[in-house]
């Protein structure tokens, strides 16, 4: 198992992590550990958000780029690692904060 997969597995098993989704730049999920419909919705919506956020950042400074997007919501926190290239994948992790 490659290092990346190990890391992903650790994230999945981490306390409070609800879902891990790896999707391509169009928002089509490659792998996931949650049910299909949620995955599709999540990845498509967040890829849009990422695009918007990237647009925002790059409009301000073209040499700058978006690397991560962290969205804290009422229910949980969504962390999004947005690859910059067209072939890069997007990693989406949903975590419920402090389920203690």
């Amino acid at each position: 198992m490659s290092e990346v997969e190990e890391t992903l597995k650790r994230i999945q098993n981490h306390q409070g992590v609800v879902g891990v989704i790896v999707s391509n730049s169009e928002g089509i999920a490659n792998r996931t550990n949650i049910d299909n419909s949620t995955t599709v919705q999540c990845s498509s919506q967040f890829s849009k958000l990422c695009k918007l956020a990237r647009n925002c950042i790059r409009e301000l400074d073209p040499e700058n780029d978006l690397t991560f997007l962290r969205v804290r919501t009422k229910k949980n926190e969504v962390m999004c690692a947005a690859g910059s290239g067209p072939d890069d994948h997007m990693l989406l992790v949903i975590q419920s904060p402090s389920e203690n």
Binding site: T7, R31, R58, A81, D88
Partner: protein
């Protein structure tokens, strides 16, 4: 003229003729044919004269047979002419049977005839004449048709007339013929006009629909950064093309490389998220350990104010790794460059239970899993991270090897490893320490082992070169063995430390409890030797600020502080910690603060400036009392320490404010340059220590005076 005898009366003329021919046919058929042929020309309704006879069906079908003969029925049979020979009227036998029903003079003339010539000569006049001719002919025609049904005599008369007409017409143009010049007409008769009417093909509309080409609406807004990217890409392309031009010979290699990269990119599709995954792992950990992180950064124990001078340790994260759980922590080392990263060496201090070892790199940002890890066959006893190249880690093993790991190279093992051939130690290596690069800029480090050798290792290309710096031996050079033979007793080095300012000066602690002051220059003798402890010296360490002060700790439960310039070989301070002291460390922020860990699981923190006799903090930090603490290390940046125990756990603890009392900054010193600030701090710390030393010495002196 009508040849039919039917009483049908007058039908339209064209149709009549045809009907006459098909008279025998059934009426219905006739009508059908009509329909087929010229349905479109003729209205269907038959026009019947009012006085038409009404015939019955039988009458209609009755056949009348007529025989057509060449005799003119209207021709007169009794024409008589006066015969002058016989002088009487005689009936002429031959009767003209010719009847002309219609005559029309043609206006075509043979071009070779006289008349044609005349006409040609006439030119324009001729045209008029022709038109006259025509009108005349038209008249004749009219007359002809008008008299169509009348008797033969009239027809005869007419024909006579016609002949007159023709005769009339001929002479009229004659006078003009002479006047006009002869002119040759082009192709008057020598041509044939031919025309044929082809069938009109019925018009047909034919069309096919092809599949419509795919269409898509595309719209996009160009953003500033897209333009920027496009330019950047173009720029890179240009650069590349330039490079290609320079070295055309390398094309093959490039294509090969390209192929390779393609294969690579296909094989691991999610490798692009590797970095992201790593950082997200940290984020996830940050979320779960949010409270700990907050404590690490912001929590200051309020109760310290009421506790006078004592302080506490706040446990923060606990680091452990599944595979290293049964291995004791044998060494701890903070990264000199990254204040959140530290390395942990795992091995075993139990002589009987030796197993494999591990080197783990943790970061405070991810307490759940080590950042890097190396598994070793032999237990790791010590390690040190290079001060300027933090990816290089030297390690010493229980089997006497030393090795160098490079965490940049994704290799499972060390990049350098000493072997039996290349001077490896014969006993466990207790401490390694990086040195400044030598004159050739080669990296080198020192190691100390219980085989008595202190060895300098130099990294040259792919090899590890060694040089013994000092061979430890006990002062009583030879001891008598039982059988009378003499055995050389070598000292067993346990620890060493290099002086902060003087490069050559270093201390060596031995298993016998001695501390040697050595110099790299002299390999045979020691500058000084202290009989410091009764048992193995686990650690010697120079003070961070004061150049003459060092500290030792030992298995004999004691921690001692020494002054190099002290005339007597006595420690300045001695502390009994009621348990074997595994490790001691000076605090990087103060000259008078140090911390020690003991085998009963306690951390002792001393501040000599506050209390010369007792620890200002003595705290049990392990869950079970059985757990032995083995090592301790101060973070250089944050007020935290890490302690390792013999169960493989590393605990991070935060020092409460009382444990890290800093000198109050004087007013107006905020603008001082950092270098000056450091110098001031150094001076302050040295003075602080000096004051202490003076205080310690004074009672001695007083005692002496008393004596």
């Amino acid at each position: 003229m009508p040849t039919k005898g039917t009483a049908r009366g007058k039908a339209p003329p064209g149709a009549d003729k045809r009907k006459a021919k098909t008279i025998k046919d059934d009426d219905t058929i006739t009508e059908l044919r009509e329909d087929l042929d010229d349905d479109w020309t003729q209205p269907k309704q038959l026009v019947k004269p009012d006085d038409q006879l009404q015939l019955s069906e039988a009458e209609l079908k009755e056949e009348f047979t007529r025989i057509l003969t060449a005799n003119n029925p209207h021709a007169p049979q009794n024409i008589v002419r006066y015969s002058f020979k016989d002088l009487q009227y005689k009936q002429t036998s031959s009767v003209d049977q010719l009847a002309i029903h219609f005559a029309l003079d043609g206006n075509l003339i043979h071009k070779d005839s006289d008349e044609a010539r005349r006409q040609l000569a006439r030119g324009e006049q001729g045209v008029e004449v022709v038109s006259e001719h025509q009108s005349e002919a038209g008249d004749v025609e009219k007359a002809d048709t008008g008299t169509d049904t009348e008797g033969g005599e009239k027809a005869e008369g007419e024909s006579g007339k016609e002949g007159d007409g023709a005769e009339d017409g001929a002479p009229t143009p004659a006078p003009a013929a002479g006047s006009s010049s002869e002119k040759k007409l082009t192709n008057q008769f020598n041509f044939s006009e031919r025309a044929s009417q082809t069938y009109n093909n019925p018009l047909r509309e034919r069309g096919t629909t092809t599949e419509p080409p795919p269409r898509a609406t595309y719209s996009s807004n160009v953003t500033q950064w897209e333009i920027y990217d496009a330019y950047q890409e173009d720029f890179e392309k240009q650069e590349k093309s330039k490079e290609k031009k320079v070295v055309p010979g390398r094309k093959d290699e490039e294509t090969k490389r390209k192929k390779l990269t393609i294969v690579d990119s296909q094989s691991d599709d999610i490798s692009s998220v590797a970095r992201g995954a790593k950082i997200i792992e940290r984020m996830v950990n940050q979320n779960t350990y949010d409270d700990v992180a907050q404590d690490f950064k912001y929590y200051e124990d309020q109760s310290d104010e009421y506790r006078d001078q004592e302080g506490t340790l706040l446990p923060l994260w606990k680091f452990s790794y599944e595979k290293a759980k049964k291995l004791a922590v044998t060494s701890l080392c903070w990264s000199p460059c990254y204040t959140d990263v530290f390395a942990v060496g795992h091995g075993s201090y139990d002589f009987m239970k030796q197993s494999n070892g591990m080197i783990l790199f943790y970061t405070l940002k991810n307490p759940s899993y080590p950042e890097y890890m190396y598994q070793t066959d032999s237990g790791v006893m010590c390690l040190d991270i290079h001060p300027t190249q933090p990816y290089l880690v030297a390690a010493g093993f229980y089997d006497g090897c030393v090795g160098v790991f490079n965490i940049h190279e994704n290799k499972g093992g060390p990049i350098y490893l000493s072997t039996a051939k290349t001077g490896k130690h014969t006993d466990p290596v207790w401490q390694v320490r990086w040195q400044k690069e030598d004159l050739d800029n080669n990296l080198n480090f020192f190691s100390v082992s219980s085989d008595g050798r202190i060895t300098a290792w130099t990294l040259i290309k792919n090899e590890l070169h060694y040089m013994d710096v000092i061979q430890l031996n006990t002062n009583d050079l030879l001891a008598d063995a039982v059988d009378g033979s003499q055995l050389a007793t070598t000292g067993a080095g346990m620890s060493f430390d290099f002086h902060k300012q003087n490069d050559y000066l270093f201390l060596v602690g031995t298993e016998e409890g001695k501390v040697h002051v050595c110099s790299k220059m002299y390999s045979s003798t020691f500058l000084d030797t202290y009989n410091a402890h009764h048992m193995a010296v686990y650690r010697v360490a120079w003070n961070h600020y004061h150049p003459r002060i060092f500290i030792t700790c030992s298995a004999d439960w004691s921690v001692k502080i020494w002054d190099r310039t002290n005339s007597k070989p006595e420690p300045v301070f001695t502390f009994d910690l009621n348990s074997a002291v595994g490790d001691v460390a000076w605090a990087p922020y103060s000259s008078t603060v140090f911390a020690a860990v003991t085998t009963d699981g306690k951390v002792h923190v001393y501040d000599l400036n506050v209390n010369k006799y007792e620890a200002i903090c003595e705290q049990l930090v392990t869950p079970k009392k059985k757990t032995k603490l083995t090592h301790i290390s101060f973070n250089t940046e944050y007020p935290v320490i890490i302690v390792g125990d013999d169960r493989g756990y590393v605990t991070c603890l935060k020092l409460s404010p009382n444990l890290r009392k800093m000198p109050k900054e004087k007013k107006g010193t905020e603008q001082v340059k950092p270098e000056e600030k450091a110098a001031q701090k150094l001076e302050f710390e040295v003075n602080k220590m000096e004051k202490l030393l003076a205080m310690v010495r004074q009672p001695d002196n007083k005692e002496k005076e008393k004596h």
